[in-house]
């Protein structure tokens, strides 16, 4: 049988296996192949190898790049012929940016030298809102610490650049020997109305679970994993942790250090860390003052209120306030995330157990957190979300697209390039 035929058999075989068993079998299959054969297979059957959890990362980078090149070529023909829709035109430029190399530095004969390499995608899906999983920093097989960041609402393929930027900030904070994976491997809710439902998160749980199992077999055995869910992404991670505690569930994630930040709650019945992590593991949580998403408790109690979770500090010399500032440079929030990822756990600073009412106090006895908590359950919630989404859609039509350079080299060429997508 040909290698391609064996791959087809393997994929069919592992489809219904437990994720960890499937990942090990996939890994073993490729491990047994001569390197040249494995690489040729990744090039020939890139659509199968690109998303295959457990396959060697280096092969997936090759395969996913081919998927991007194909998708870009298809759209390029439409753009060149003037037949592309606005969305296709935007996606074309996004794919173009994803194919741009990234820069780093190396020691070459005692000199600091700039080197460029292709981006390392562990998964790409250029269709629909788009999905992608990208590795930053150290190679997975060498990293001492591996962090996965799961973003939330409104992250299309066009908007992942900002998430990748956060990933680099996490890398800088955690230091050498760290790998960060930006996991936008699911269809995120794109409107507030969608975000009021757990549908996207529930659909994401098996996806992140399978990815987590695949990660485990390609990492260094002694490496430690941090899984960070932010905003709606924390709902995804929370549900995946919950599934991991259920021996009957085929799904579940098992990070060494789970982190939930800006969380709208997991489930109405989940009110303690012990429901999400086994004994001996710490659930790290954070809520900034004025985080209206956490205050809203759309899906259940805010993990920052769990009595047995470690609520880490977000405030320091750099002011952090509201739902969007957890990754602010030099903030205590970002520093603590770096400490958690690197395993410098004694240095993680603990936040005071303030209540939403204390954090959102406007005047003595007057705060707005309670009304936020009532809003998601009120009859006005759905109509208000629709109004917000309608305003957002109207703004989208009126805002021109913009160019997105990805590194200095690209930037220097930008005046000759067409305008790029908004993010």
């Amino acid at each position: 049988m040909t290698q391609a035929g064996q791959l087809d058999l393997l994929i069919r075989h592992v489809q219904n296996l437990p994720y960890d068993v499937a990942a090990r079998e996939v890994h073993g299959h490729f491990y047994d192949l001569p390197p040249a054969t494995a690489r040729a297979l990744a090039k020939e059957r890139y659509e199968q190898v690109g998303p295959l959890d457990g396959a060697p990362p280096e092969l997936r980078y090759v395969a996913n790049r081919r998927i991007l090149v194909d998708a870009r070529r298809t759209l390029q023909a439409k753009v060149a012929a003037g037949r592309a829709t606005r969305a296709q035109d935007t996606r074309f430029r996004t794919l173009d940016a994803m194919l741009e190399p990234v820069s780093t530095t190396e020691d070459v004969d005692g000199r600091l030298v700039k080197v460029v390499h292709d981006r390392r995608f562990l998964y790409v899906d250029p269709v629909g809102q788009g999905r992608m999983v990208e590795l930053l920093g150290e190679d997975l097989g060498k990293a001492k610490n591996v962090a996965t960041l799961v973003p939330g609402l409104n992250n299309t393929l066009e908007k992942t650049a900002a998430q990748v930027d956060r990933g680099y900030d996490l890398l800088n904070e955690a230091g050498p020997g760290t790998a960060v994976v930006v996991w936008k491997g699911y269809d995120a809710p794109l409107t507030l109305e969608e975000a009021m439902s757990t549908e996207c998160a529930r659909a994401a749980v098996p996806l992140v679970s399978r990815f987590d199992a695949g990660l485990a077999v390609v990492m260094a055995p002694e490496a430690e994993r941090t899984l960070i869910g932010n905003s709606y992404g924390s709902q995804v991670v929370g549900l995946a942790l919950l599934a991991g505690m259920d021996p009957e569930s085929p799904d579940g994630v098992h990070p060494d250090r789970p982190v939930l930040i800006g969380c709208p709650g997991v489930e109405p019945s989940v009110h303690s860390a012990a429901q999400l992590v086994p004994p001996g593991k710490v659930l790290y949580v954070a809520r900034t003052p004025w985080d209206y998403v956490s205050y809203g408790e759309q899906f259940g109690p805010d993990p920052a209120t769990f009595p047995d979770a470690f609520r880490f500090e977000t405030r320091g010399a750099v002011p952090v306030r509201g739902h969007m500032k957890y990754f602010r440079k030099n903030s205590e929030s970002l520093r603590n995330l770096g400490r958690i990822i690197s395993g410098n756990l004694d240095a993680v600073t603990r936040a005071a157990q303030t209540t939403p009412e204390q954090e959102s106090k406007l005047l003595p006895g007057v705060s707005w957190a309670e009304s936020m908590r009532r809003l998601p359950r009120s009859e006005a919630a759905a109509p208000l979300a629709k109004v917000f989404d309608g305003v957002a859609a109207a703004r989208k039509l009126s805002v021109p697209a913009k160019h997105k350079p990805t590194d200095g080299a690209r930037n220097r060429r930008s005046p000759q390039r067409p305008e790029g997508p908004a993010r």
């Binding site: 750099v318 440079k329 240095a347």
Partner: protein, 126 residues
């Protein structure tokens, strides 16, 4: 100031600090993302309001994170930044610097010759 001007300013400041931190080496801009919207819960269609830039420098023959971050801090201070060398934390040497809404972080590590300087512009409507 326009966002493009802010971006140029930040880039120049980071390169200047890198040059002062590691004399004889030219800092390398490893990331210059261009405008991004940092607000995860925005509708994403609005103005892209910040620029984020990373510069790496270092002398592969010299491992001196303490001296290099101190030199970076001194240069930033001389250029009008409020820069502070933070206490070393498990081999992590750091400078945090602020100026007119810009934020810069300089990271060095024990045993590591590479120094990373990253910065963000303030949010500016485009």
């Amino acid at each position: 100031m326009t966002l493009a001007q802010a971006r140029d300013f930040l880039r120049a400041e980071l390169l200047a600090a890198a040059a002062a931190a590691v004399p004889g080496q030219e800092g390398v801009v490893t990331r210059d993302l261009g405008p991004v919207n940092p607000n995860v819960l925005s509708d994403g269609s609005g103005p892209e309001t910040i620029c984020s830039i990373t510069v790496e420098t270092g002398d592969p023959g010299v491992v001196d994170p303490a001296g290099q971050v101190a030199a970076a801090a001194a240069e930033l201070t001389a250029r009008g930044w409020q820069a502070e060398v933070e206490p070393v934390e498990r081999g992590h040497h750091r400078v945090s610097a602020h100026r007119d809404g810009y934020d810069v972080a300089v990271h060095g590590w024990d045993g590591e010759w590479r120094l990373t300087l990253s910065g963000e512009t303030p949010e500016i409507d485009t």
